[in-house]
């Protein structure tokens, strides 16, 4: 039984497997290693995932969804046409696509997976990820933190004993920092921290804000087509800025009269507030590990957003050295996940590798007097599992009643570092009945168990009655009941999928449609004609004709894109 390693990213996903002593990346149906995390529905109600859906973001924004990883574990819903999808369902569609690709590549059925999540993902977000996999019949053998996965690759590759790495992982939506040491086959994560709302998408949105204000466009008044078009063009511009000093954006919106030029300095200036935010998690990680920047042997950059020159220069200034990143930052996490999958499979070539990870945030409970009349409930946070404790861990603390004749105790579960619960993230709560008595007499034992997957379980025992309660967390946003999960499964099973074989044609059509949207006049008619012809050829089902046409179309589209988008 093979275990698939999956990196489920905000903008791109990838999968890999441990094979013959190395991590082997699995190409998708288009023979690419990265699959965009975009899901769409087409006119025939068929689901599209990846490249083709990404192109349709511009031409059919109301039928396409992206960046849903950011909403994992929340009640947010995406509307695709008339249907509503939760972020979990959308993620499971991406997972489904990856699973199919892997099955076709390995020629066997896959039912188990190791999936990576940002280190700073909360309990609800992790549960949502796990659920997404279960919806498509993948049993999650382990959730691994993304920077830890990347560290595995660097640890195994460099093989330098006693080396300390600082992994800075900035993907599309999240930023994670981990301090990792590798010695004698042990990969030990010392400390970890992060920011769940800092990634490439935020830099894009900063750029978009600048563009909109420069052309005095009201974002709220944009149609979704116009909006997507602007974002798409600016995203390309953002990528271009990695390689050139300045980029010219040709007409992205009708209000734009002349080409808009953006250079690195301007981009740096408007991104400054985001750059300040990079510092905090790094500082926290270093202080938690009681280490100074000079103790670090290597600063490693992981994740697509770290390609940005401004990030590289910031990091080198922060640590007064060049960061390393000699493995493709987009794929390194997937490779690390494959190593973890290999570990889970008990592959003999990984026999002497052990990985230990930490819990990146403090988990605790509110100590309060919830029967308080005046509304001043104390609201103090008591950590039970301190941040950066090694996992798995299980800790018990004793709590007692706060007022006379109290009938029940409410154990509110929080995650965070602030002394006051109102500044921390609320995870859920548990109500416990206790016999009435004078205050302080009744005590309960609260046990927090944090497992290797980063999932939290809570057990409460009432001392006097001996009654036990187990993780019946109420009121958690984004968690589904058994019935809702079943409904989701049925919903996904009823969806129609585009046949895998024709995916490359789909991409081509979507790409042509995208250009059609942006083009005007003659060129537009031209593309319209070609699309019509392509439909005819596809209907003829003559493979040779189709192949010929595809080649012609590809060349043609390439030419148009070269001409129109950038100079």
């Amino acid at each position: 039984m093979r275990i698939l390693g999956i990196d489920l990213g905000t903008t791109n996903s990838a999968c890999a497997i441990w094979n013959n002593g190395k991590a082997e990346l699995i190409p998708n149906r288009l023979d690419k290693l990265l699959t965009p995390s975009v899901v769409g529905i087409d006119e025939n109600n068929e689901v599209l995932v990846g490249e083709s859906a990404k192109h349709r973001l511009v031409s059919h924004p109301s039928l396409t969804a992206s960046v849903f990883k950011r909403y994992m574990g929340s009640e947010y819903e995406f509307k695709l046409g008339k249907r509503k999808f939760s972020p979990v369902e959308l993620s499971s569609l991406v997972l489904r696509s990856l699973k199919e690709d892997a099955e076709a590549y390995l020629k066997e059925e896959i039912t188990q997976a190791v999936i990576s999540v940002p280190a700073y993902f909360s309990d609800a977000q992790r549960k949502a990820t796990k659920l997404a996999a279960e919806l498509v019949g993948l049993k999650v053998e382990r959730l691994i933190n993304e920077p830890t996965a990347a560290a595995m690759v660097y640890g195994l590759h460099e093989k330098s004993d006693g080396a300390q790495f600082l992994i800075l992982d900035m993907g599309g939506g999240t930023f994670d920092v981990s301090l990792v040491e590798y010695f004698s086959g042990v990969l030990e994560v010392h400390a970890s921290s992060g920011d769940n709302f800092l990634g490439g998408e935020d830099f894009l949105s900063v750029l978009a804000q600048k563009y909109l204000s420069d052309h005095s466009i009201n974002e709220k008044k944009l149609s979704s087509n116009e909006r997507q078009r602007i974002f798409e063009m600016l995203n390309n511009a953002k990528h271009q800025l990695t390689y050139s000093q300045n980029v010219t954006v040709e007409k992205a919106h009708k209000q734009q009269e002349k080409p808009w030029i953006i250079d690195r300095d301007l981009f740096l200036k408007i991104s400054q507030p985001l750059l300040y935010r990079i510092q905090t998690p790094i500082e926290r990680t270093l202080s938690d590990a009681a280490i100074t920047p000079s103790d670090i042997d290597e600063v490693v950059l992981v994740g697509g957003a770290t390609r940005m020159p401004m990030i590289r220069s910031l990091v080198s200034k922060m640590f007064r050295r060049m960061p390393s990143g000699n493995i493709d930052p987009d794929l390194v996490v997937a490779m690390g996940v494959a190593i973890q999958a290999g570990l889970k499979e008990k592959q003999s070539d990984l026999d002497d590798i052990v990985l230990t990870d930490v819990c990146p945030y403090s988990l605790g409970t509110e100590i309060l007097n919830h029967n308080d009349k005046s509304g001043k409930q104390g609201g103090l946070f008591m950590p039970i599992i301190e941040r950066n404790s090694v996992v798995p861990t299980s800790i018990v603390k004793s709590l007692c009643t706060a007022s006379d004749n109290q009938k029940e105790l409410k154990v509110c579960i929080y995650q965070g570092e602030s002394r006051l619960v109102k500044n921390n993230i609320y995870l859920g709560e548990l109500e416990v009945e206790v016999p009435r008595g004078p205050k302080g007499k009744e005590t309960i034992d609260v046990r927090y168990s944090y497992d290797m997957n980063g999932l939290l379980e809570i057990d409460v025992t009432v001392d006097s009655t001996g009654k036990t309660y187990h993780k019946t967390i109420l009121n958690t946003p984004g968690t589904l009941s058994e019935k809702e999960i079943e409904a989701s499964k049925v919903k996904l099973a009823n969806l129609k999928f585009h046949p895998r074989e024709n995916e490359s044609y789909r991409v081509l059509i979507a790409r042509a449609e995208k250009i059609y949207e942006g083009a005007l006049g003659e060129r537009r008619d031209n593309i319209g004609n070609i699309l019509y012809q392509f439909d005819q050829v596809l209907e003829s089902q003559d493979i040779r004709d189709i192949e010929k046409f595809v080649q012609k179309l590809e060349e043609h589209l390439h030419l148009i894109e070269q001409e129109s988008v950038f100079t």
Binding site: G162, Y276, M322, P392, S418
Partner: protein
Amino acid sequence: MSCWNTLGIEPTPKKVLIKKAYAAKLKSHKPDEDPDGFAVLHAHYKQALNESQLYQIEDTSEPRVENYKQDKEEQIPEGNNNAAHTIISEPEVIQELETHYTHDILMTEDEESPTTEEYSYINYDAEWNEITKQINLVLANLKTANDEKNWEFLNSAEALFDIEFKAHISNYVFSQILELKKQHPRRKLPIIKTLDRFFRWTDKRDILEAHFGFQRVQLLLGAVETIGNKKLIKWTSTKSHNGPMFYPNYYARLGATTIDIIIISFAQYYLALAAQKLGINNSLIDTNSFLRVLVLYTFLIPIMESSPLQGALGKILLGIKVTNKEGRRLNIFQAFWRNISYMLSTAGFKITVWINMFTNDGRMLHDRLSKSLVIKR
């Protein structure tokens, strides 16, 4: 059992040996296969690492690098941070901080890395003196301190990119602002918001609290919104109330009702005027202003309470809202019934007030009758 027994080695100051022993033992106590055994092993490993420091002093075969670093440390020019010592209220802490800081800077300065040359021109001691001098200048009085322009030098200071240097400057500025606040306890310091954006104080509140104490941090950052953590909660609470419910006190609710009645009184007055102007002549709305208030109150309030606003203006202003027992929004009928039972119970000898005194969640009669809750937003 001592930690050395668990690791199976003799007490040693050499961390490398401890790590080797731990790595060997770990293979038979892997965290996912033997969580309990791993927990013990890991705790003892940490303990051994701590204890090893006790032996460190006796050990003669210290690594060469360490010696080198110590030599370097002795060369630190003294007395370069006079300004800091005199102003900061907790001299010991800060002093410790500073030696620590200079120490680290020197350690890395001569390190062989590909970019050493690029940064070697930054003299961090000189930069520290320069920047702190400028900070003191800006903080000389409230007016200059609150002017955003005066702080722009922070953005252009190359040395502030260094993560450690910035952390120390951050602490320095924080302590200086505290001093300023102490001198002018009643004056506002809007500049804190700008500085917070630069130094990210609210993000690392707990670290600051450990340094400066909760009260002092609260004094400066109390007014600054903590945005980072709340984000998650904000967009999840579309349907039901997220988080534990806090009950407002009686005065907040009384205040909310008073505000509503005042607004409605004005509204009825202008409505009557408008009706007159338009020439609508209905004896009922024309004559009785009390009736008009009553009618408006009966319809307007339930509509607003069952709307996504979950409360009329008074409740919005005072930060409270109406929900059902599950923390979800009321439906229109429930809101109507709530309102009618409110009017009835107020008419009946102010029973609402009395019943409130015997309950501990602040729920009044009409809340109970309509199975609703009034909670803080």
